[in-house]
Symmetry: none
Subunit: 151 residues, 2 copies
DNA sequence: GCCCATTTGTTCGTATGTATA
DNA sequence: TTATACATACGAACAAATGGG
């Protein structure tokens, strides 16, 4: 690691990763290189990489999945700008999670009905998003790879 | 068999330190025991202490001064006041996704298709939320050393 | 002023556990 | 079962800052 600036290596790595995420060099949803690969790329130990990744993960930019990789969760701009109207969405999210928990606790029972209800909740939640997009004056982005719509 | 009881050592130490700060066992402005002393008190390695102290330092509860010590900067209540909503929502999203993964693995055989669709929808939902926040976002107070500070 | 012990901050190497594919 | 990858943990080394003698 070229240590021209008087900052710790893990901070330099974190800043560089942050920059790569912001510039879509590491797009949202993609996986960053593995810890071993990053140690080679930056020429530092795994501890430095872990510290840098841990910092970005604490900031909500990255999320690690054991056995899979570390994935870009959001851009620095998006992570730094979340503010209001969270209460409504947070409440809906809580309801969704409660439903999930209920389904999981009843796992030994027949599952088709619960899954159907789950899909219904997901559809309803998405519809709320559509409304919010409408209030923003923007069309709801269609990914094409989504779940069957719920009516 | 998810052992919800067994938390990592550094987390237990962090929680205990947080509690001692909240109960004024470690008053604001005072220094906590040194790293070497904490390793003896808790019976863990310096890595665990460093991780615990680092977590509380990242939360703004502690501030280290090389050559002197680590000092209590604010109470958990004061620190939680400014960092509340966004971190909560992020955490909920993380837990939500983790539970989704658990449900998926528990029912992989019979309901793989439904769960896969549900998981995909959850991922899309998350991305839409991120985009939505980016579009709704107000200018965010720049992070840096924005500490409430004991004025 | 100088030496030295203490303490934090940082980095390194390594090992074990666990989840995933 | 095997391989990959993250999370956690132990121990050690060095630099820099601080304060006492």
């Amino acid at each position: 690691m070229t240590e021209s600036i008087g900052q710790p290596a893990y901070q330099q790595v974190a800043d560089d990763l942050r920059r790569k995420i912001a510039s879509a060099d590491f797009p949202v949803g993609s996986a960053i290189p593995s810890t071993a690969r990053l140690t080679e790329l930056y020429g530092v130990s795994s501890t430095v990489i872990r510290a840098a990744v841990g910092q970005l993960r604490a900031d909500g930019l990255l999320i690690g999945q054991p056995g899979k990789g570390v994935f870009v969760r959001a851009t620095p701009e998006a992570a730094a700008e979340r503010a209001a109207t969270i209460e409504d969405l947070s409440r809906q999210l809580d309801e969704f999670r409660a439903e999930l928990r209920r389904v999981e606790s009843a796992r030994r029972e027949e599952t088709a009905a619960e899954i159907a209800a789950l899909r219904l909740d997901a559809g309803l939640l998405r519809r709320h998003l559509v409304d919010l997009y409408a209030q923003l004056g923007k069309p709801y982005p269609d990914d094409g790879a989504s779940v069957p719509a719920v009516e």
